[in-house]
Amino acid sequence: MRLVGLAIALLAATPGAPLDQALPGYEFRFPRDHFEHRSFGAEWWYYTGNLADADGREFGFEVTFFRAGRDAVPGSTKVWGLDQLYVAHFAITDIDGGRLHFRERLNRAGPGLAGASEGGGVIWNGNWSATFLSGTPTKPVQRLWAGDAHASLELRLEAAKPVVIHGRDGVARKAGGVGQASHYASLTRMRATGELVLDGDTFEVSGLAWMDHEFFTEGLADDLQGWDWMSVQLDDGTDVMLYGLRLKSGGHSPFSGGTLVQPDGSSFALRAEDIDLQPGREWVSQATGASYPVEWRVQIHSLGVELDVLARHDAQELVSESGRTPVYWEGPVRYTGRRRGRPVRGAGYLEMTGYDRPVEMGAE
């Protein structure tokens, strides 16, 4: 579950837009489905992960590629047309140094400025890119690069588990209406090795990364305020994706849920009633005044899992420089707890949206 609002915010409402909707029965095919689906209104690729260098210095990273499209209107095939927009975010958290570096990038497809092409095997926005190098279609090896004048990150990402399809029958439902869902696939465990340059210092880093790829057309339901999302990579080899859709009226929507991925790669969906997400200590943003819970208690009843979630760095609110994307909090977290009584630890990423205001729909 990712930034639904973002895509919608970039889209002009086009009456009778004949875009495809995320409907049950969709059959994923890779490598094709790693790349863009222009027949859907919104799409994103999220790369997040926790890294450390040989001395144990820890970092979190996020490289995200968003696409917002609308149906092709006559004459819109022009190179510089504004029908397909691409936003990218690049964030590095220096956990030990206690700082966040964030950069946003916005482009139209233009003459090759941004895109996600199966032909080139690459998802890119300017010079930030994720390139599919080798491996199998469902267990690919990728190269990720993002950088600016202050920081750059180059990673080799090797999938340790095959692609996981979330939800049921090819769709992850977000509400009861037709098409109020997304096609959602993840690489939940990728071994990451590479180089991070931050303000002139170079670090040889390694760690675990996670990739989400989601595409859909319908926006967020009207009764929703936002959502909380977590990726969990436990040291027993289990991965979990959890999301809670927050209702404007309070509490989580019954369409919340998640996926559990076993060490062998097999997975099954988690229902809303299986999980319990309890917010704890809050951090207040100076920039927006929003209060974000940076500590959580997570329970997955059917698996006997109890986890304490702790943000590695509180100030992870990402405020768009251009003001063109919604404000959200996204940062690295640590998990400690028990699984059926046995102690378990893990790392991952936490995303929280709609804390400054409801994630809006349909507006530019």
Partner: protein, 843 residues
């Protein structure tokens, strides 16, 4: 110490005793300084700070990528993916006319969505996506009379388009307006407005870490071979280089105005030296050292210089307003649309003024001061020694003069330094020196020869007037030299401009042979880049009234670090009726045949001179490959622009430059067709396009007007120099009268009437005017030769046919003569009004 003060007081008091004369000298210096200041300020404003308006949105870019015919936009995509701390920023550029006020401004297309570097160049509030997509939004500089939220129309290429004014542009800080008036739109809209789909005109490379240069090889590897990478702002620098020789020419002319002032200071100080010889003798006799005497007279020069400089600074600032307007027009008509010049008095300008004013004053006072100091006390008490010396040495001066002429001749053979003909300038100064040196001898001979005719014509008063001048030949020479130099300046500039004008007219007669010329309606100048659709040309060609059309496409190119033009025409049409005049190379028919086969060009004379290219050489142009070789088949006469021009066969260049749009079309009507009727038909045929159809005569008138505009500044400086000379003349005559008070008084006591005294002084004025005219014509002629054959040729690369604008010269000379007579009127009256007894008594 108090002795120096005494001397100083002696001098200052003397200056105050003769306020008018002092004032005239100061006025001469100040006008001289003012001209230099005005030219420097205006030059700096119009040329020094010259920025091609196309570079107004450069921001903090460090490199720029451009390509003849445009950079393919796909290159931008390749560059954008380069994993480097660089940002790339594309520009689509062109000129459009705002119909509401007729103003021609640059229009820029920028990536309003993705360009992160834009804020370093301009501030604007980006529209929402729907407006951006469908509303044709434009951002406009303040002061263009357009209101946000309203639609407005522009003429662009051969069409009229409607834009929506979304908002105002501010400078990069967002605090103020932009220096250049402009319109900014999204890159997509700009491409369609300017017919540039698929290409951008420029890609800027920005680097936060100042690392662009080290990435240059990687950047170049991603570009098409014909693309050129250069330091950002190169184009402005190239234009400035092109302007450099023009500025030097103006500067030298302005210095000549100061030389005239120098003569006058010299005259003024030396008159005082002569008049005060007895006093100096006394002062020396009672113990004043020669160094103190010298210091005293130098101090006098310094006072003139200081006052003149101060006044000159103020006056110069005032004159600069006019000069900058004139020069701005010149820069615009000669080069390209430029940002409006801004006047700023810099420390350098003040330093220049002080150096020029004080330096010239001290230098010109040096010689008389030395003379004053060098005479022994006894001799100093006897009057007239200096004149004897002058008379004795005139032969030696004449020999020096011949030496100067020879030296000047040799200097003319030296080449220019980066197109600035310093040797030519030195030759001009040498000629002025030569003229100055020969004048004592020539003037004495002339005055002697004139004695008899004057006696016959005017009577004894005339003869005595002439004799007095002859007797004080040293001073007479200085006055004549001053006025002759000023006259020469006027004459030489008139001859140079007149010759160029005539040469251009004759050239135009030969070159402009078509009946009608069609071009985008509001195109202006060479660097404008407006184009028209090829279909419009086809429609004209299909008319029964039209015998033949000759299409042309011009591109602004850069060659050897200078801007130039590549013009593509149809040599198939040219064949047999070509109006191109070959300067060097095979005949035009052979040339045309060669051009049709491609791989070659012909170069205009200014191009050949600027780049040292001759017929048979090869030059490299960045077309297709990084550099493609082209043979220069011939050099042709061309006066259309100072920018050098290359001419090629259009079809042969289309593979490199596939854009088929045209810059203009020359139309030859069928025999017997009435020109007006033909124009009507052509206008009808292309009614859907915004085109201007000019008759041959109209185009010529436009060209002539543009020529005259270009040289307005030169004429203005000439006029100022003349003003200095006339002021100087009045001062000099006044000096003469005051100096000869005793003689004039004696003449009156011996029975001369007031009328005779007046006649005497006016005769002197007339004689000085006449000799100055004669000297001025000779020196002016010589200077004109240097200007035309050396300075202009080296600066601009033009061969100018010598032509004497007789009428203009005659009227100028008459004016100078009349002015010198007029300058004598007051001194004549003053001399006649003196009471003889008082004068004698005083002495």
């Amino acid at each position: 110490m108090h002795r120096v003060l005494l001397l100083g007081r002696l001098i200052v008091r003397a200056l105050l005793l003769e306020p008018w004369r002092s004032l005239l000298t100061v006025a001469c210096v100040s006008v001289g300084v003012a001209v230099i200041i005005a030219i420097d300020l205006a030059g700096e404003a119009a040329a020094g700070s010259f920025r091609s308006s196309m570079e107004s949105l450069q921001g903090d870019a460090s490199l720029e990528i451009s390509q003849l015919g445009g950079v393919p936009e796909t290159a931008l995509g390749d560059l954008a993916r380069l994993e480097a701390p660089l940002r790339f920023s594309a520009r689509v550029e062109g000129f459009v006319t705002v119909l509401a006020n007729g103003e021609r401004v640059p229009l820029f297309g920028v990536d309003l969505l993705g360009d992160e570097t834009l804020e370093s160049a301009v501030t604007l509030e980006v529209a929402d996506l729907t407006t951006l997509r469908e509303g044709r939004p434009a951002w406009v500089s303040n002061g263009m009379g357009l209101a946000p939220g309203r639609q407005f129309q522009i003429a662009v290429n051969d069409r009229v388009e409607t834009l929506f004014m979304q908002g105002l542009l501010a400078d990069a800080g967002g605090s103020g307006g932009l220096r250049t008036r402009m319109i900014v739109v999204d890159v997509a809209l700009a491409q369609s407005l300017l017919d540039r789909e698929g290409t951008v005109d420029r890609i800027y490379v920005h680097s936060e870490a100042d690392a662009a240069e080290q990435w240059r090889p990687r950047i170049e590897a991603l570009l098409p071979p014909a693309a050129q990478v250069s330091a950002a702002g190169s184009r402005s620098r190239e234009y400035r280089r092109l302007l450099n020789s023009f500025r030097w020419n103006l500067r030298i002319i302005s210095y000549i105005a100061l030389i005239v002032g120098a003569f006058l200071i010299y005259n003024s100080v030396s008159v005082r030296v002569v008049r005060r010889r007895p006093l100096i003798g006394v002062a020396r006799a009672i113990g004043m050292t020669s160094a103190m005497v010298r210091a005293g007279f130098l101090f006098e020069g310094l006072v003139f210089g200081l006052l003149g400089t101060l006044l000159g600074l103020v006056l110069g600032r005032v004159l600069a307003v006019g000069a900058v307007a004139l020069m701005g027009r010149t820069v615009e008509s000669l080069y390209a649309s430029a940002a409006p010049p801004e006047l700023a008095v810099r420390p350098e300008t003040i330093a220049l003024a002080v150096c020029a004013g004080l330096g010239v004053s001290l230098l010109s006072a040096w010689w008389p001061a030395r003379q004053a100091a060098s005479v022994p006390p006894t001799e100093a008490m006897a009057k007239g020694g200096i004149e004897h010396e002058a008379a004795r040495s005139s032969g030696r001066w004449a020999a020096w003069s011949c030496g100067c002429v020879v030296a000047s001749g040799l200097l003319c053979l030296l080449p220019a330094v980066d197109r600035v003909p310093f040797a030519g300038f030195a030759a001009a100064v040498g000629l002025i020196a030569a003229c100055t040196m020969i004048i004592p001898l020539a003037a004495r001979k002339a005055l002697r020869a004139l004695t008899a005719p004057l006696l016959a014509l005017i009577g004894v008063a005339g003869m005595i007037g002439s004799k007095i001048l002859e007797e004080s030949i040293g001073r007479t020479s200085v006055i004549v030299a001053a006025l002759a130099t000023a006259t020469a300046m006027t004459v030489s500039v008139a001859v140079m401009v007149g010759s160029l004008r005539e040469t251009v007219m004759v050239w135009m007669d030969g070159r402009l042979q078509a009946d009608l010329y069609v071009q985008p309606e509001l195109a202006s100048g060479e660097a404008d880049g407006s184009t028209m659709a090829e279909e419009a040309a086809a429609k004209i060609s299909a008319l029964p009234e039209v015998a033949l059309i000759d299409p042309i496409r011009r591109y602004s190119i850069r060659h050897g670090g200078l801007p130039a033009t590549l013009a593509l025409v149809d040599f198939g049409v040219q064949r047999g009726r070509s109006t191109i005049r070959i300067l060097d190379g095979p005949g035009i028919d052979k040339v045309s045949a060669r051009m049709l086969s491609g791989g070659c060009v012909i170069a205009s004379e200014p191009f050949a001179n600027k780049h040292g290219v001759g017929a048979g050489d090869t030059i490299n142009l960045p077309l297709g490959k990084r550099s493609e070789e082209f043979e220069v088949v011939a050099i042709f006469h061309d006066y259309s622009s100072e920018r050098g021009q290359l001419l090629g066969h259009r079809d042969a260049f289309l593979p490199y430059l596939p854009d088929r749009r045209l810059t203009g079309v020359a139309v030859y009507l069928a025999p017997g067709t009435d020109i007006e009727a033909g124009r009507l038909q052509v206008n009808r045929a292309v009614g859907e396009y915004r085109l201007r159809v000019l008759r041959n005569r109209e185009l010529r008138e436009l060209a002539t007007a543009s020529f005259d505009r270009t040289f307005a500044i030169t004429d203005a400086i000439g006029a100022v120099a003349l003003l200095v000379a006339i002021l100087g003349m009045a001062g000099a005559l006044l000096t003469l009268v005051v100096d000869r008070r005793a003689e004039l008084g004696l003449l009156r006591t011996l029975g001369a009437t007031k009328r005779q005294v007046r006649q005497l002084v006016l005769t002197q004025a007339g004689l000085l005017g006449l000799m100055s005219n004669a000297g001025g014509v000779v020196l002016g002629g010589a200077l004109a030769v240097v200007l035309i054959k050396v300075i202009n040729k080296q600066s601009f690369g033009w061969t100018i046919q010598f032509y004497w604008p007789v009428g203009l010269l005659l009227s100028a000379l008459t004016a100078i003569f009349a002015a010198s007579l007029a300058a004598g009127l007051y001194p004549a009256r003053a001399a006649a009004a003196q009471h003889p007894i008082h004068v004698l008594h005083e002495e």
